[in-house]
Symmetry: D2
Subunit: 364 residues, 4 copies
């Protein structure tokens, strides 16, 4: 199941050490101007080697858009795309052929499929997230004229964490540092921790917060197509993600209803708003017009530059020490991936809500 | 989108104050003996009025199975089912017609669809979870001969919480108390808290922990059909759920890789196991044969027996005080719903994994 | 796979001799007035016993709408429905338990599922088409305010056939006779033939022609969601259907391009039309605004009131003679089923086309 | 909707005059050896310029397989592929920018999407069928070890047609002539007719017959996933197809039940067969183990090398005369496309049937 979405659909293919990574975006509305700069920007934010905090692999990650565009605009036809793999050090992975790396997908792929491409994690490599960033960039181009914006930032690295309330931060500062954290002081602490972890041959987990603004009322298809269910599936499909919450989330489980309910109020513009937004912008599975905010937990990268015990293909005890170039902390590079999956989900739901408007349709 | 699943599919319909709640289970394998007792048991665990802690509404919730069964066994054809609504106090809801209850779905349904059934929440009522329990009971009948078991329990009510490690508890005690908590002491504390909250006209949130044992290696369809993505979508589609995590979850975001990785070891039976199970039974989106465990956060019920400020249909300020019979805490009755959605998800993935076995197929 | 459609979805369940036949319509737009008379009319046209030409079984086929409707209007929530089986002569079918009726589904169901409900064909009974007529009636209620009409008529019974050009007939005469044929003379011939076939203990096949008028330009989702592909799948899913063609169909395979092309012309109302309509209203998989017309071939009913040779459950030679009440010709009662499936397909595509309109969306 | 299939899924992208044509095959089982010769062979059969009967465009159509394969075997991961466009004469199409070619998709694409790639038909070009042949070749590699074979041949060109019974022909002769007709005499007549039509600047339609042998009992998912419904959707999604029938098809509509029923008989190998096979290998929507045969009607190619009347983008009358290189008859090159779509459909249903086997599963 390498396709995500119902009306706006991303199909993904590719392995880390094959010819490249690619995909197809189907359901992109017609008439949207392609913003090559935006696409390049998103790829740049995701690519390895962008700072001292990430893997030193350098990948150009140039996206070829292969169809669905005519004279700079989308045609409504599917958009195929491809990113060549380059700068591969396949030899770095020769020792993986017969070993199951701890907490990696080697064992489960081998068992499920009977064989696997062991080079660099093959299909289970995080390099696959390239396709999400391409799909997300296209989705953002469609969401922009609707006034819907999607932002994400690193809100926790190891024990260093920001306040849960995103409104305390100036989101324009996110890109001002290499961890993509809007609190410059915390960012420096996080950077120092990541550097230390790297020196230790270890890795570290964290949390990314996402914020969607400008979302109209009415997105979400109860009961199983609740907007939060789609967002959760989108985020939980990203490598290394272990948890998702929105609104007050797990913290709200400790609260009383009187502490968590949001009172409705008349908004200055004649619409209806809520006084507080503990609900996180979704009620009954449908967006209510307030900001949608959520948090995504990432486990520490499983590849350690130190010896670990494991077993080989035959089930015999073995040891494994990773070499090569790896991220000590995936969070900075995962920020654009979280944004991308949120944008894809939003656009898909926007199209579904468009189809589901009350009857009879207005002439347009 | 009132259908969940790919090969094992639950379609749901019904409102709280219409004729009843029903659905269709499609993709149920043929030849499975219908266990009426199991079905009744699951309905009994979900129904209101089962203890002093839950709403005093009493609903018999008798399930009629309408098709797909012949001489006590499933035929492979879709199983339609229906549960009549009864004991309705529609008058309790007359005051809801023109009011938007805070943190309920009244406002978003009205805006999305242009009209709504206001009686008892209509489609957004938690009474809809009946269909999940029916689907889950059928899924459990299919999972049982495979040795796959699904358990859930209340692990937190308000500030009272259990240790995150489910192995510290005797899961056979879950049903021994009315909050469905395997720690009898904590259960008593939780009961006392819920009683107090009820007296206050307030409500309280909590967390449910789920445990899946006996799951074979190989369930999950990367990259977007990761098992955890499906489980998350399943859980986040339940009313009042605000968060999902599996394995170490959010707590693991604070850890280092060396603290979270699971070493592979040869198992006594010749298979491959892991020394620890911080991964939560899933690696690379595919089950690895270890227990799958996860936690689901529920917000406090939005219906308070005290006055709240809100607006009416015209957007004018109003106040609202709920009457009638409501749960002060949804957790005890949500335990079977969490189990049901987990069972449905597992069976769906089992069928997909069955189709995806390596080639050529074995003769059978 | 008992669900049809993408955004407007019909899920079906039920067997001919179980409690009843039912289903769920999901994706019905909100705000549509329920026309009970239309629903009753469609059920009446499909039901057995309506004339001397059809089976003498009398089934009331009263539809209970169980959800998704509030104060006479659709709410956008799924519409569950159920029709109780009655007037069952299960004893008529006792001899079927261990026999495979020729050209029926007994053998294939038994082999696929390992067991089957043998009574009256069980799930494979044409009684299942009730669900299609309910779904079709709802779809027609949505199509009506759009000015889209769907008609079908019997255009062939055995060797007696009408001219392929539907424009030669007055479609208002369709319901004026019991075969549902708009040519009264041919209708009488067909009636006589069906009566003779019945006397012979035999059955007879035929063709139904469908005509969709008022369809706007733009329905159809290339390349695999071509409108004709969806219509074909809809029709070929009906019991006893063996062929589908639209426009010139198979006859056009003998033609030259210069005989079949449709010249575009300016229409009086300022739009663009075609001088001829050999294309059948669809070009490149997308409706072009002209009438969509198609033909559906039905094989003769497999149940004969005469002895046939076959085998039993163990594969031993056996003979079989049907008793009970059966249709000698399914065409008259299949007309509303063809209309229903066309209406369902059209509405589904209308909703998809609505979602796929060029960007940016108009404010509404 | 550019994806076909449920478990074995082909996603397609590309235009005739963009960078190329490509797609993704998802759900390909793991462990299948890639047969590069078979793939090349299928592409060779589809490509233009292969004989004097087809367009003189010469396209190498070299397929790059971009993922999902490791050391010559499929891995169970999605297989991306791409075929570069070459030998493009875009100037041939400059005159199409502002004109709607009769019976082409120009008008409907323009209306639906608000813009279109006019060059060579853009997305609606038959060049898109490349993706089907790649998907079909992969499906054939999976079907081969199961003993399932798929053949197709030209059975009619204009008024020249073969007997409807495929068993009268030696299917090993199909590739012995350039029209792909197993009757050498008729083949010569067809060739002469196509040459004449080409001289006339005209085009001609025809029929392709498909035969599937070795299909096991049990493929097909009633009621909407009937095998014939999927085959019909597959075929009707091919450019220029106007009709589909299987078994006796439209001819059988003129018959009596006593002429069309197939008696069951004990087969020599202990299984159950039918004496005749008028059903076309499918009963109740499920394969019965006999040959599946079907016929597909193609209209004549719409591009004529003679003047036709039409309108331009503004709706003003205009004339259009095609130039360039075009097929006078699409049948010979469509034969591998019909086979491909049949193979894709069969494998998809095989996987669904595998998932739906009766319970409990056998250990394997």
């Amino acid at each position: 199941m390498n396709t995500f979405g119902t009306l706006f659909r991303l199909t993904s293919f590719g392995e880390s050490h094959g010819p490249g990574i690619g995909g197809v975006v189907d359901g992109m509305p017609a008439g949207i101007e392609i913003d090559e700069d935006l696409l390049r920007h998103e790829m740049e934010r995701r690519r390895p080697g962008q700072s001292a905090l990430t893997t030193s692999r350098r990948e150009a990650d140039q996206v070829e858009l292969l169809s669905g565009i005519f004279e700079g605009r989308t045609t409504g036809c599917p958009i195929g795309f491809f990113v060549h793999n380059s700068n591969q050090h396949s030899n770095d992975y020769d020792n993986l052929r017969r070993i199951f790396r701890p907490s990696h997908a080697d064992f489960t792929y081998q068992q499920k499929y009977g064989l696997r491409d062991h080079r660099g994690g093959g299909r289970s490599s995080a390099r696959e997230t390239i396709t999400r960033c391409v799909g997300g960039a296209l989705a953002k181009m469609a969401l922009r004229p609707l006034g819907i914006t999607v932002s994400a930032y690193t809100s926790q690295v190891g024990p260093i964490s920001l306040d849960a309330d995103y409104r305390k931060y100036d989101l324009s500062l996110i890109e001002s540092n290499s961890v993509r954290c809007p609190d410059p002081d915390k960012a420096r602490e996080m950077e120092a921790l990541i550097r230390q972890v790297k020196l230790d041959g270890d890795t570290i987990g964290g949390v990314i917060t996402g914020v969607i603004s400008g979302c109209p009322v009415g997105l979400g298809e109860p009961v199983f197509g609740r907007l939060q269910a789609s967002l959760a599936a989108a985020m939980m499909s990203i490598n290394a993600v272990k948890g998702f919450e929105y609104g007050q989330g797990f913290a709200g489980a400790a609260q009383r209803g009187s502490e968590q309910n949001d009172a409705f109020i008349p908004a200055p513009d004649g619409t209806i708003a809520t006084l507080t937004n503990r609900s996180g912008g979704i009620q009954g599975g449908i967006s209510n017009g307030q900001d949608i905010y959520f948090r995504v937990a990432f486990k520490p990268v499983a590849t350690l530059l130190r010896e670990q015990t494991t077993v080989d293909l035959d089930g015999h005890p073995a040891t494994f020490t990773a070499h090569g170039r790896h991220d000590p902390c995936v969070l900075p590079r995962a920020v654009p991936v979280v944004e991308a999956m949120a944008a894809i989900t939003l656009l898909d739901h926007y199209l579904m809500a468009r189809a589901a408007q009350p009857w009879p349709p207005q002439k347009s």
